[in-house]
């Protein structure tokens, strides 16, 4: 660190395009498929709701699986760069004590040498991870994921959202946006709080938080810009995120940024996804600036309000023009499908519908799950080196020719396949029946019977295209059963 700088101010004064540049190498957001129209809340309850919609994680998603999906997209959008650390931030962890980042790392098939750590609990943890990664060394995959709840009719219910983002931070010529400065303004005040075990937050009077957050945001932003040597007029994109909606709006106005610099914070279309949201919006901004019309040297300011304020100043590089994100946030936002308010409440445990009269599954065996980690978490099968037959799960003896122990590992999580036949099971146990189930033949070989998710039964037919997605099948004895399901491939522009 430069001796002239305070711990909350770092400047990286390196030229654009330099191989010494540190910044963002890849970024992706994941917005779950379902959308709750806020107007549906008032239609049901008589109050609450609002305009626009919020994103809703499926019944088989949690913050770990959301994080996996975002990280997979980020990995696919960059050229084979492996992180040496994976940091996972959420305010809603699937496990306490047990690290959730290890499941994310397993699903990504990262090696055991990759340090996988959780930064859990606070809404500030996502931006904190990003700042720490930008100020640190090595290649770090920062994953933020969140699912936000509120009591029916509350502002948190409407304004919250579910989503995840992954930002790969490192050095070198692949950096899409270099970090120019960061600044933090930390403050101890009780505006929003939630006791361990509680599902929803409690809030102090809104005006108090606004008073604090606007001041903290202006402070952090002005210091970051000062260190960077920029004026607000130099800024090409500015985004403010945070769960304190009123402060986000007020600060955005007071920053005095040019109208053209104001980016979409996605609050209207998906809501604020807690600790993940600043990363998700950052990914969306980079996607909007990338491609053939990319402008190197554009200054981006990201400000997150949570128990203080953090400001990150970035500057785009020439590498952004060649970057091709595989599934931009904007496409995912556009391709969402509605969910009824009743279904939303049942998925969030607020309403308990009659379950199927079938036994609930037994808890997963930890030892069996660990032995089969590559299969269960990575969807890695095997291919017979002699016959080429694909085995899902992996097998020691081939179904064709009978070769023994002559298989190679075959990662299949990114394989796309075609529905050969399918059925709808109205009897089987599911947290959200009925189960839609398909026999899928993968491009390049291999067949597997997969449960489909993010799907309406009527949209599936023989020949439908399916991709794999990491999900939580059920939870028994507090152990989550993670495995892969299929979902329809939704090309850009399709609904």
């Amino acid at each position: 660190m430069h001796p002239d700088l305070t711990p909350s101010q770092v400047r990286f004064g390196r030229p654009v395009g330099s191989s010494a540049v540190r910044g963002i190498i890849s970024a992706a957001g994941y917005v779950p498929y379902r959308r709750l129209a806020r107007a549906d809340i008032a239609a049901f309850m008589g109050s609450g709701g609002g305009k626009g919609s919020r994103s809703v994680a499926s019944h088989d998603e949690d913050t770990t699986t959301l994080g996996v999906e975002a990280a997979r997209l980020a990995a696919r959008s960059t050229a084979g760069i492996t992180p040496d650390a994976l940091w996972f931030a959420t305010s809603s962890p699937a496990y306490l004590d047990k690290t959730n980042a290890t499941a994310v790392a397993a699903a990504l098939r990262l090696g055991s040498e990759v340090g996988a750590y959780d930064f859990g609990g606070a809404l500030r943890s996502g931006i904190g991870c990003l700042v720490a990664a930008l100020r640190g060394s090595g290649t770090t995959l920062v994953v933020g994921a969140d699912m936000r709840d509120g009591l029916p009719t509350s502002g948190d219910e409407s304004n919250g959202g579910d989503g995840a983002a992954a930002v790969l931070v490192g050095d070198g010529p692949d950096v899409l946006a270099e970090v120019v400065a960061t600044a933090s303004a930390s403050d101890e005040f009780t505006d929003r709080w939630r006791a361990p075990g509680d599902r929803v937050s409690k809030l102090w009077e809104e005006r108090f938080g606004e008073n604090r957050y606007v001041a903290l945001g202006l402070d952090a932003t002005s210091r970051a810009l000062a260190v960077a040597g920029f004026e607000m007029a130099d800024v090409g994109r500015v985004i403010v995120t945070g769960m304190h909606t009123r402060s986000v709006g007020a600060l955005t106005k007071k920053l005095g940024a040019p109208e053209s610099a104001l980016g979409d914070d996605l609050a209207m279309s998906m809501g604020q996804a807690g600790a993940a949201h600043p990363l998700l919006v950052l990914a969306s901004v980079l996607e909007s600036l990338g491609g053939e019309s990319a402008t190197p040297g554009m200054v981006i300011v990201l400000i997150h309000l949570a128990d203080g304020a953090d400001a990150v100043v970035l500057r785009t590089t020439g590498a952004l023009a060649a970057w091709r994100p595989v599934r931009p946030v904007a496409d995912q936002v556009a391709q969402g499908a509605p969910i009824s308010y009743g279904k939303f409440l049942s998925w969030r445990g607020q309403l308990t519908p009659e379950p199927p009269r079938r036994p609930e599954p037994a808890r997963v065996s930890s030892t069996a799950a660990h032995r089969n980690e590559d299969w269960k978490f990575g969807f890695v099968g095997s291919r017979d080196r002699v016959s080429g037959a694909v085995h899902l799960p992996p097998s020691r003896i081939s179904m064709e020719g009978g070769a023994l122990d002559d298989m190679e590992s075959l990662p299949m999580s990114d394989a796309v396949g075609t529905v050969v036949t399918f059925t709808i099971d109205r009897l089987a146990y599911s947290p959200s029946p009925p189960i839609v189930f398909a026999i899928v033949d993968f491009d390049g070989g291999g067949r597997y019977p997969v449960e489909l998710t993010d799907v309406d039964a009527a949209e599936i037919k023989v020949g439908s295209r399916v991709e794999m997605t990491f999900r939580r099948l059920f939870t028994a004895d507090g152990i989550h059963d993670y495995f892969w399901k299929g979902r329809p491939v939704r090309e850009k522009g399709s609904a």
Partner: protein, 397 residues
Amino acid sequence: MGSHGIRDRVAIVGMGCTPFAEHWEKGLDDLIVDASTEAFTSAAVTKDDVDAYWFGTAQSGMSGITLARPLQLRNKPVTRVENYCTTGSEALRAAAYAVASGAYDVAMAVGAEKVKDSGFQGLNAMNPPSDGTARTLTAAAMFSMVAPAYGQKYGVDDETMSDVLASIAVKNHYNGARNPRAQFRREITKETALKSPRLAGTLGVFDCAGVADGAAAAIVVRAEDALRYTDKPIYIKALSFAAGSGSGLIDPGYDYTHFPECEAAAADAYAQAGITEPRRQLAMAEVHDCFTPTELVLMEDLGFAPRGTAWKEVLAGTFALDGELPINPDGGLKSFGHPVGASGLRMFFECWLQLRHEAPAERQIATTDRGLAMTHNLGGYPGEMVSFVSVVGSELG
């Protein structure tokens, strides 16, 4: 090496079968005692005359003690067997081989299942601890994928296919209505079948076997001893079994329109019994109609109709009680429900009645002069299946 069978070396000389029903007032022990007692009486033996026992139950109990305790068998060799839905048939296969080997003079197979104590609908497997990646589908859903695949392959439109499947349900209910031991003793119309609620895919309630408790038992001896026990023994002509490798689930070549394990088991059984034209040589067949599409496909797997034609034969009534080859004259799983350990032996019981001309007049088949009857079980799912086939006959040679 080879599968040689035990044709004409073992005879069934006594059988018992409880009514299959929701036996709220009878436990597993009661069902075992009822079926076994009927079999002992039928063969005119006591439990002490039986040298060895095989007990089939899928999940109503473990070890031979489950049979030895209710029957109060003292230090007899009693073995529990399990092999999915073929469990009851496996008990008989083991008992027959034991007698054929010369190890025992008299052996008994008992199959029983108490299904209705679980508090859940349908059959529910108790699975060992696992990594949590196995499918959670019901059997109905797995078998529901057969009908559309068959229809597409052979150009049978959805409406015709529904008609074919409803015809199978109507036939089996018709037969079951004439069987005092059946769970469902009511004829249904096609309209009833077609209008029933859908459970999985296009399968409705009337496409699925019922769920019942029950038990059945058989006593076997060497063929040359058979007439000492009964003047109308039935002789074992073939016992075959095939376990698939499970590869159908992951083999892109599998098309869900046939069950290779059943074809293999049938081919072996026909070779053992010397059958070349099963449709003409068999008087009847009891087949595993867990779901209506299963029975349809089995008509081809077992060689009763060429590929792609069974649906026409179904509509033509070929497999009706008075048809060319009566299938499931007792009403099948459709009418009996499926107490897993008992079903295979229940099928033998119908062969026993029919070949001995002891079935009630309203369901006695007219084809018994052919002298041969088949039973067929399958367990598991399309792509991952076990299959059993037997042939029994009323005469030696």
